[in-house]
């Protein structure tokens, strides 16, 4: 399976590519006042308003550095009532993909109440790479239902 490798600070993370719709370069984002700090802003993605989450801010509490390799990963989601929506994830050094077997993904048996999406690991020969579970990610955003409705009004 294809996985996307990226960095948050100096730590490498990975995610599965099956939900990834597109990796877009950094674009000007519309800031949202009073939104949680990890909401980088709103992205006008091909006419659809997409909320962009700063993954580094979400996971490490520090915003992504603005470099040319800092990119927005656009992820496809489907709500329970089958309405689709898109979420943007900002990460650093999004330059590489790799092919890994499903068996490379292991769960260490940790359940973090704060960050359920960070449970798994991808085993490499020498290291373990923390794996961001895209399926569990939206659970952490309370503001989502409203935004999803906004996307589908169009």
């Amino acid at each position: 399976m294809l996985v996307l490798l990226f960095y948050l600070g100096n730590i490498m993370y990975t995610m599965k590519c099956d939900r990834v719709r597109e990796v877009a370069p950094m674009v000007p984002l519309k800031e949202v006042p009073h939104a949680p700090e990890y909401v980088a802003g709103l992205f006008n993605y091909r006419g659809v308003i997409v909320p962009v989450i700063d993954l580094r801010c979400l996971i490490q509490g520090k915003p992504c550095e603005m470099r040319m390799s800092t990119r927005i990963i656009l992820v496809d989601y489907v709500k329970e009532d089958n309405t689709p929506y898109i979420l943007g994830l900002m990460a650093e050094r999004v330059t590489e993909t790799a092919r890994r077997d499903e068996s490379a993904f292991v769960s260490p048996g940790l359940k973090l109440a704060e960050a359920p999406y960070l449970g798994g690991l991808m085993m490499e020969e020498k290291e373990m790479i923390q794996y961001v579970d895209l399926d569990l990610l939206p659970e952490s955003f309370q503001f989502l239902p409203e935004l999803v409705n906004a996307q589908n009004e169009k």
């Binding site: 674009v27 993605y45 091909r46 006419g47 470099r67 330059t95």
Partner: protein, 221 residues
Amino acid sequence: MENKDRCWKRIGVWGNELPRCPKLAEVIHCRNCQVFTQAGRNLLERPLPEAYKDEWGTILVKKKGKEPVGAIAVVVFRIASEWMALPAGLFAEIIEDVSIHTLPHRKTPVLLGLVNVHGEIQLCVSLKHLMNLEDVIVKKGAPEKEKKRLMVVSKDGEQWVFPVHEIHGIHHFNPGLLQNVPVTIAKSKSTFTEGIFKWNAKHVALLDDELLFYTLKRSLQ
């Protein structure tokens, strides 16, 4: 982050110059080496210019253009002065102009003879005669011969070889753009033409392959 030592500049990416990088024995070429890859990646570690951000912003605002759906692929070729096309699926291959062995006692001008295609004997037929195309007067010194090719076309399990004067290659277009054949066209070519499309400011006739091969078989019997 900054990798100051650009070793590949000193030693050459293939390691042809001495001293040879010891890593090259393993990776063969610098592009397989981590040092080189990392240096390339570092180019992307530059600060993000505002103009770059704005440029992509305007690109990504726009909706993706609809790609033409159901486009068909045809091979465009020229016989005499006429540009024509046949569905690309029919083509087995395009070969260089080889000598055609004529058959004795065959009066039909459509059958040119036999050609050797990879050791197999195939019938070589002239579309020019089948469609009654007129010869063009070749200007002296024109590089006519160089572009001459043989198309090997396979239809219902049978292979045919046609000499053509020029082959452009594969062209994709939407069948919706096919125009009808103007009724005023008197040439018999029009009877084989399914429609006409524009390509490089030229009008190309898409040939009706069913009719073409049917007529071809009839004319050889």
